[in-house]
Subunit: 302 residues, 2 copies
């Protein structure tokens, strides 16, 4: 599981910082999460192949999370993209994009599917054999979802030597990998755990931005491998967090601690702070395994 | 008259080039012309004060000329802008912007006026004591206007020593500057030209992008100080110009020559060309006083 931060600053793009966008590579998928203005240039800069992006998840319709989407969709067209593109985001996102494509008379030459979200409860919005993506309803000024990306457990690992010792026919190996007990050539019932071991532990990534301090998300993200939680403010601006429905670094750390995640990533820093190291300092007091996102930074989670 | 090129490449923003946007400073106005994605960052990079921009002119609704507008309007709001903003552009532009502001629940705290254009004939869309702006109907795949920015003639220059010699009362100096004849203290009729000289010659800037080769614009831009004319292609791709309704460098030069402008600026280069110097070489053969736009370049026209 690999995460590339394209942008992680709040509000407006600046000369050297970008609004929110990130790329999650998980089980051979390249998922784009949020798409602030300038995302397509950040994708180029970070050498992410455009054609590998088939799913884009938009948390909410504030500009710093979505104003780069129409440009990216248009660029895909100009590059003669042929493969499908799926966009998941709040109701209204389809109208925003299609209005602009209509008025510029620039329909895509590839299939563009919108999956509009309006549920206030969590729902699975993507699923295949290897991964699921579910919404994490957040508490922001407008309708906002985080996203929980979860690997599915892989097959059990077959201990081939053991299987041979128990005289199990090769045609049953797949059943063993799926966790089933089998009958050996000698007519014996072989319990699955005798010839397999557990699959590699699954990893999960919980993306939570933007949101006020909102402990209601804790049960859903419990035990996640990585939690990205917005931290717009330091504690010095604590009083701004609640009315703007953003969080402080300490609040992000409190969520991480309560949820028992393995690692916390901070981001969505207000551009008023010249030194983002202070976010880490404040959060680490509460949750030590905490890292700072920054534009262009790549995290590999083994 | 000063022109700052924020971006002058066709189609998609790239790591080191930007789509179309430029800033024209004329008679104390700061006019923003077109607004591709990334314009707000280019404004910062080129140290153009956001608050000085009160008028934005959008030629057409292709993304490389307008996808940066909603972000700029939103940033103005985040920076607590108070002064009015006027946007001139094709019909539909208001719907594009207001839909996004509505869905993000982010109405501007300043007054935002849309002046939607749909006339196929030239019209004056802005006028004050010192300058006029009129549309230049162009020939592109969708409804597109260029813009002609014209200084108004200033007052005549008073030759104070002469006026004193003719014994003209100071209270009449303003009439002289306005071109009127006056009666001296000695009762003599003093012809205006005896005590004044012509005002400084007026300057004008014709912005023509995007457009096919379209000689119909020549009468309107006749004698302009500067013509910015798109040159998407070199002559090697001549056959692409007509169907895409773009121009070659040679065609831009032919328009400049026919219109007898003082200077030609080329831009809107297709990103297929690694060396833009070739645009200048081709155009110069037909119209020698030709310059290349490039991102971040500043032209001062005396």
């Amino acid at each position: 599981m690999k995460l590339t931060i394209l942008g992680c600053y709040a509000a407006t793009p600046r000369t050297f910082t970008n609004p929110t966008s990130q790329v999650l590579e998980i089980k051979n998928h390249i998922f784009l999460i949020d798409c602030g203005e300038g995302t397509q240039v950040q994708l180029r800069r970070n050498k992410i192949k455009f054609s590998k992006i088939q799913h884009i998840f938009i948390s909410h319709l504030h500009g710093d999370h979505c104003f780069g989407l129409v440009g990216l969709i248009s660029t895909f067209r100009l590059l003669n993209r042929e493969i499908d593109l799926h966009v998941y985001g709040p109701k209204g996102i389809k109208e925003i994009i299609t209005l602009q494509l209509k008025l510029s008379n620039s329909w895509t030459n590839y299939s563009l599917y919108f999956h509009e979200l309006e549920s206030k409860s969590s729902e699975i919005i993507y699923e295949d054999a290897k991964v699921t993506v579910e919404t994490i309803p957040l508490n922001h000024r407008i309708y906002t979802n985080g996203f929980l990306f979860r690997e599915k457990p892989g097959e059990r690992k077959l201990l081939i030597q053991k299987a041979q010792e128990f005289n199990i026919d090769v045609s049953l190996y797949n059943s063993l990998k799926k966790g089933k007990n089998v009958i050996s050539e000698d007519g014996e019932l072989i319990p699955n755990t005798e010839v397999t071991t557990d699959p590699a532990p699954v990893k999960s990534y919980a993306y939570c931005s933007d949101t006020a301090f909102y402990p209601e998300i804790v049960p859903q993200i419990k035990g996640a491998t990585v939690l990205y939680h917005e931290s717009t403010f330091l504690d010095d601006k604590f009083e701004l967090a609640a009315p703007t429905k953003h969080s402080t670094a300490k609040q992000a750390a409190a969520i991480a601690k309560e949820a028992g995640v393995s690692q916390l990533l901070l981001g969505h820093y207000s551009t008023r702070y010249p030194n983002i190291e202070e976010f880490k300092e404040e959060a680490s007091e509460i949750f030590p395994n905490c890292e700072l996102s920054d534009d262009g930074k790549v995290f590999v989670f083994e």
